[in-house]
């Protein structure tokens, strides 16, 4: 990452690729697109600490690797702890002259929702509290996709997974999606943002900001998953766009406590547009869809109140 890097459009992104093709991610997987962008922003001086998950297993099938930056995978629940160690080591070694003290190395955790919301939550909280200069990138596909689509703390209400079938009695996941980014923000770290692969420039700017702060940062990226969400592989970006247009997902950031919505939605679409393109919501009744709509309406109201103006507009379609 060059400190002079400004991202106003895709043409500002470096041409250099640090994520090599030939990996084993599913056709249409948006995680690889997120990583390509992430590494373009962070550049050569980057160490990736990857939690166990889709990306880890699909990009490092021995003896091959897709990573042109140093890359470490330790286990599922401890990426934040391992990254804490990487950061502390570079600090101590710089003081002792064992590494170049002038060189700023980006330390980036890459973890899925299972490794962040659930099993990795404790290590994440510890890392944030201790204030390590690590950017934590959560690629959120809203279930344990690597083990074959099981529900996680991130799976939204009524979504089908293999462990939350839409049955006669239980209708998909019966709990809500945990507001992880706000829980992270409650740690009072310098930078927290939500992003979406359908808005790459917004996402890349957030990666850049996250890497520039002097302390922990957290970027929560929605990662539409054709395999787990049950949609045609060509619709990954469309799904991401619809998530924002229906306000099922809101792109925001918190810089030193200041909350800001970065993607305004003047006219909001009904959630059915987002839900019906995905097989995981197939079989929901109109009433259940309306229940999700009411949740979104309430969330939009809360966000608008927080910002103090109508950044997310009324339902028009």
């Amino acid at each position: 990452m060059s400190s002079a890097l400004r991202i106003r459009g895709v043409r500002d992104l470096p041409r250099e690729e640090f994520f090599a093709p030939g990996h084993g991610l599913c056709a249409g997987c948006t995680a690889s697109t997120i990583i390509r962008h992430l590494l373009k922003v962070s550049g050569k001086d980057t160490i990736i600490v990857n939690a166990t998950g889709c990306v880890e297993v699909s990009t490092t099938m021995y003896p091959y690797t897709s990573w042109r930056t140093p890359w470490l995978h330790v286990a599922f629940e401890n990426a934040a702890a391992a990254a804490s160690g990487v950061e502390a080591a570079l600090k101590a070694m710089a003081r002792k002259g064992l590494v170049d003290p002038e060189r700023r190395i980006n330390i980036i955790v890459l973890a899925g929702d299972g490794g962040t919301y659930d099993i990795g939550f404790q290590a994440l909280s510890g890392m944030l509290e201790r204030g390590h200069r690590v950017m934590y990138v959560l690629y959120d596909n809203e279930a344990y996709m690597n083990t074959g689509i099981q529900r996680s703390g991130s799976t939204p209400l009524h979504a089908w997974t293999t462990t939350t079938p839409i049955g006669k009695v239980l209708r998909g996941k019966i709990q809500f999606k945990k507001p992880i980014a706000e829980i992270v923000a409650a740690h009072r770290i310098p930078y927290v943002a939500t992003a979406n692969i359908a808005y790459p420039i917004d996402m890349d700017q957030k990666f850049l900001k996250g890497l520039q702060v002097d302390g922990p940062s957290f970027i929560h990226v929605l990662q539409p998953c054709p395999t787990g969400w049950r949609f045609d592989p060509r619709y990954g970006i469309k799904a991401g766009k619809l998530a924002v247009e229906t306000a099922m997902w809101i792109n925001w950031e918190i810089i030193m406590g200041d909350f800001k919505v970065t993607t305004r939605v003047p006219k909001r679409k009904h959630v059915k547009h987002y839900l019906t393109i995905q097989g995981r919501f197939r079989g929901l009744t109109d009433e259940e869809i309306e229940e999700i709509q009411r949740l979104v309406d309430r969330e939009v109201e809360r966000i608008n109140n927080m910002v103090g103006e109508e950044v997310i507009g009324p339902l028009t379609d």
Binding site: K44, D45, T46, I47, V49, N50, E56, V57, T60, M61, Y62, P63, T65, W67, R68, T69, P70, W71, L72, H73, V74, A75, E77, N78, A80, A81, A82, A83, S84, G85, V86, A88, A89, L90, K91, A92, M93, R95, K96, L98, V99, I105, Q122, A123, S125, G126, E129, R130
Partner: protein, 405 residues
């Protein structure tokens, strides 16, 4: 251990408990990163190291992690970028690390950890035995068990020497008795000038995470490669034996103290040998003196090197002794012989030219003291039972409700 005061390095005599001896050794090894979580009876190590860092006596990063799981994870990360790293734990903490013990050795990272051994829950018990250490014996960590604070200090230095050797690159544990050693003070010698330790412990290059030479560590390996990679670990563990012996020689040369994988006391002409490990070895030596004065030709052996297990050293130390009594301080539930060290000893003698009558005793579980009288009683019992002893499995010494008549 024989003492050689005329050594290369000038040394000072200090009074430390084993926890503090660990901290002094980690300081003198000039570690870069320490990550640890408090747990009784290890806590003194982290406290002392925090104090040293706070006072500028040691230039290192102390990561006050939120669990032992993160402690080991953090030093794995730190070691992967090339730092010299250290952690300490006990009992539940070691068990909580379990998954990462295998990952650390599988990644061939030269971590060093001290373990103030302690009984395992449930029922919860903070006192000493070796159940925690014995539980991790298959995790491919080189394991030394010390009997004195002096040996604890020297073993930590030795552990770094061995772990960081390019022929080995495996993590190491230095274990010692919780409370019996972690909280009791002993005089010991440490180098007056720490630079002597830097001389024994040069920084050696190895594969690390470096943006100029990017590598992938911790990749997914399928059946077509996994076994070969794990087999390299088997070889490295075997190779570690030779490197440990070289390190013993260096420790003797620079620090003047001689260590062996199996230590012995009055063993040469003994008909009866008692083998144990950790702090109990000191008590055992007094018991040997007492039994000798009563006319028994008995000697003591100490298992210092637990992994890799020193088969040939054991055989040569046992020599022609007729009776070998193994006193374990951990239980392997449901095993044919419930004493973990006894099982290794029996395997070592299997189909050998000469095999003594071996018996297995377990004592000191959950912090119950093992006195000279206990060792005397164990020897008496073993002699009375002879060959029959092993047929009973392991004999649980001093436990109410067990009968072996």
């Amino acid at each position: 251990m024989e003492s050689m005061l005329e050594s290369r390095a000038r040394q000072v005599r200090v009074l430390l408990n084993s926890n503090y001896a660990v901290a002094y050794a980690a300081r003198d090894a000039d570690v870069d990163v320490v990550a640890a979580y408090p747990i009784t009876p290890q806590t003194g190590v982290v406290e002392k190291l925090s104090e040293m860092i706070a006072n500028g006596e040691l230039d290192a990063e102390m990561i006050h992690v939120e669990s032992e799981h993160s402690a080991l994870s953090a030093i794995i990360g730190a070691s992967a970028v090339g730092a010299r790293v250290f952690t300490a734990t006990s009992s539940q903490g070691l068990e909580f690390m379990h998954e990462l013990l295998h990952i650390a050795s599988g990644m061939r990272l030269p971590l060093v950890m001290s373990v103030a051994t302690r009984a395992l829950s449930a029922p919860i018990n903070i006192w000493n035995d070796y159940s925690d250490l014995m539980n991790v014996r298959d995790s491919s960590w080189i394991t030394l068990i010390a009997s004195t604070a002096q040996e604890v200090y020297d073993s930590i230095i030795e552990a770094f020497m061995v772990s960081e050797d390019p022929r080995v690159l495996l993590p190491s544990i230095v274990a010692y008795d919780g409370f019996w050693m972690s909280h009791t003070y002993e005089p010991l010698y440490i180098p007056e000038d720490r630079r002597v330790v830097s001389k024994i412990l040069p920084r050696r290059p190895r594969y690390v995470l470096d943006p100029d030479n990017p590598i992938t560590i911790g990749s997914l390996v399928n059946p077509d490669w996994y076994y070969e990679i794990k087999y390299q670990q088997v070889e490295a563990m075997k190779e570690a034996y030779r490197v440990i012996r070289e390190a013993d020689t260096k420790i003797k040369y620079y620090l003047g103290r001689a260590y062996e994988p199996i230590e012995s006391y009055m063993a040469e002409d003994s008909e009866i040998l008692v083998l144990t490990y950790g702090g109990a070895y000191e008590t055992l030596q007094s018991a040997v003196d007492m039994m000798r004065s009563e006319g028994l030709r008995v000697g003591a052996l100490k298992l210092r090197l637990w992994r890799p297990f020193p088969v040939e050293d054991l055989k040569s130390k046992v020599g022609d002794a007729e009776n070998l009594i193994v006193v374990d301080r951990a239980i392997s539930y449901g095993a044919s012989i419930e004493g973990p060290a006894a099982l290794e000893v029996i395997a070592a003698f299997y189909k050998g030219k000469s095999c003594p009558t071996i018996s297995s005793f377990i004592a000191g579980i959950g912090g119950r003291p093992v006195s000279e009288e206990d060792f005397k009683g164990i020897v008496k019992k073993a002699l009375k039972l002879g060959d029959k002893a092993l047929k009973m499995g392991s004999i649980h010494w001093g436990v109410r409700g067990a009968s072996y008549e």
